[in-house]
Amino acid sequence: MNAPVGLYQYQTADREFLASRIAEFEGQVQRRLSGELSEDEFKPLRLMNGLYLQLHAYMLRVAIPYGILDSRQMRKLAHISRHYDRDYGHFTTRQNIQFNWIKLEETPEILRQLADVDMHAIQTSGNCIRNVTCDQFAGAASDELMDPRVHAEILRQWSTLHPEFTFLPRKFKIAISGSPHDRVAARFHDIGILARPGENGPLFRIFVGGGLGRTPLVGHELFDSVPEADLLMTLEAALRVYNAYGRRDNIYKARIKILVQALGIDGYRKAVEHELSLMDPAHYRLAPETVAAIQARFAAPDLTAAPDAEARLKNDRQSDIAFDRWVRSNTHPHFAPGRIAVTVSIKPAGGIPGDATSDQLDRLADLADQFSFGELRITHLQNVVLAHVAQDRLLELWQALNDIGLGDANHELIGDIVACPGLDYCALANARSIPIAQKLSARFGDNALQEEIGKLRINISGCINACGHHHVGHIGLLGVDKRGEEFFQITLGGRDDALSRTGDILGAALPEDDMVDAIARIVDRYLSIRETGEQFLDTLTRLGDAPFKEAAYETV
């Protein structure tokens, strides 16, 4: 098998399924165009194939299972954006990519093109189990306890068109990580899974009932140590309880978090345990040979590096201050000696978070081939990861990234802003997220200044649906509509790691025009009052939000 590195190699059955699914959708499109299907009848069918009707045009959301793709797939995305869209794509906070200017009549052809490289748009919409997300450093990070990709693929196969869970009360999002440092916001998912090795095989810590949106809630631990054999049965039982008792009468109360909140975690766990008692373990058992068979369809890269790779990187860092800064902010330690994981910031100063042009997508594919075994990952912070770069070639990679405008040293700094498409593109939004992100990233564009400010994440959502995850931003901005005009509410102190919490509202919403200055005043105040070694959240924890509130509203 000549499989691409890092992602599952499709089989004939997978490809036949995709072809039949596209043929089915093409027939549905034809029936819609002829008038045989009304818009009300067609809408759920197109959504099941990732096609939304947004503010200006149709938007196609393409699934990137657990955020990993290979260079040929990235080139295909470039091709689609160049030939069927307007020359760019937008990476989302769920590790997918969206195209904002798609034509309905061309969609079946686009889906065929995607299927040519084993991609699709299934599970990117609708009240089903959505595309599973995963740690962007899976199989690479030195701090990882267990590579979660094989189980992410198992979850993908289990959840794809699962007949019982195709019409859930509401959409359902699952994330999985194998690191003790939660990099997938596990506690803010319908189900979040933290995997670790046990004495007798993998164990899974499962959180349930987390989420953002209108009712932000931190998930509760459902079970601490589910053995691998019982993983699917446990998830099946958890979903079955939700499917049976989740509210369908009110869309705003239909997510699992509301059910868990209503029953309490103990009540919900009891219901799941009862469901488990009715199930046949033998039927649902995840057998080691099944796991091994799926594992075998992932190719492992040869991570051997030159013996002097680390020494050469050290030397390169000493000779270039800007490169040294980028290494500090945009790389992550790899478990293999001489290798390093790179986060490519898709957040250039003044740019649109997560937007990449066709040419950039093509070049990223080239760089993946040259530096990381042809493999790329999309992060939930809307960046791209090259996971296995040889340290002695890191300078060469950084220079190549600078050539395409993606060499900014700002990962997890104030320029690494997460923003939803907002009112510029989204039919649900109340306010524009992107212009504020652009203005803030331009204002704080200097990479040295960003490093001085330290870890400070800004998340911006254009409406209460919270696709920009504003609740978990260290500084969160939520767009609200006041008589047709844009205002923004500020929250402080959110985080989505092991200490997950939602931010606290600072005060009354401010007009869009005042926002950038208000944030700048908050940052200035932080810089003036922080103690040595403190990051923004440390200062906020020590002093509370009073100084920042005073700064934000100082001229209002």
């Binding site: 165009l33 009707l53 503010l55 045009a57 307007r86 034509k103 524009r432 212009p435 047709g484």
Partner: protein, 105 residues
């Protein structure tokens, strides 16, 4: 259920939709033809827009449009939607000026 519309003094209404084939935004002119630019939209009074809306919804499939609804505007040389949302729909995304809708389209 009929939506409540808040119309201020001096404001009027126009009809809008998305084209079925490509989803692009269109505005209904005085002849009942869907145009790309809001500059061509028929300006309707609060008294007469309901019958126009009803007719537009009825012919949506044959006209190749979806999601017909009314938008409150301030009439002028070019009708200007009152809300930010509808201004963005009418004139294009603010973050991609190259995609602005041409008014003579």
């Amino acid at each position: 259920m009929k939506r409540a519309i808040r119309i201020g003094a001096g404001e009027a209404l126009v009809l809008t939709a998305n084209r079925l084939l490509d989803g692009l935004i269109v505005w209904r002119d005085a002849k009942g033809i869907w145009q790309r630019s809001i500059a061509h939209a028929a300006i309707l009074s609060p008294e007469d827009y309901e019958s126009a809306l009803e007719a537009a919804i009825k012919s949506a499939q044959s006209d190749g449009v979806v999601g017909v609804y009314e938008v409150v505007v301030r009439p002028g040389l070019v009708a200007a939607p009152v809300s930010v949302r509808e201004r963005i729909r009418a004139f294009g995304p603010t973050v991609h000026p190259q995609f602005a809708t041409e008014l003579d389209a």
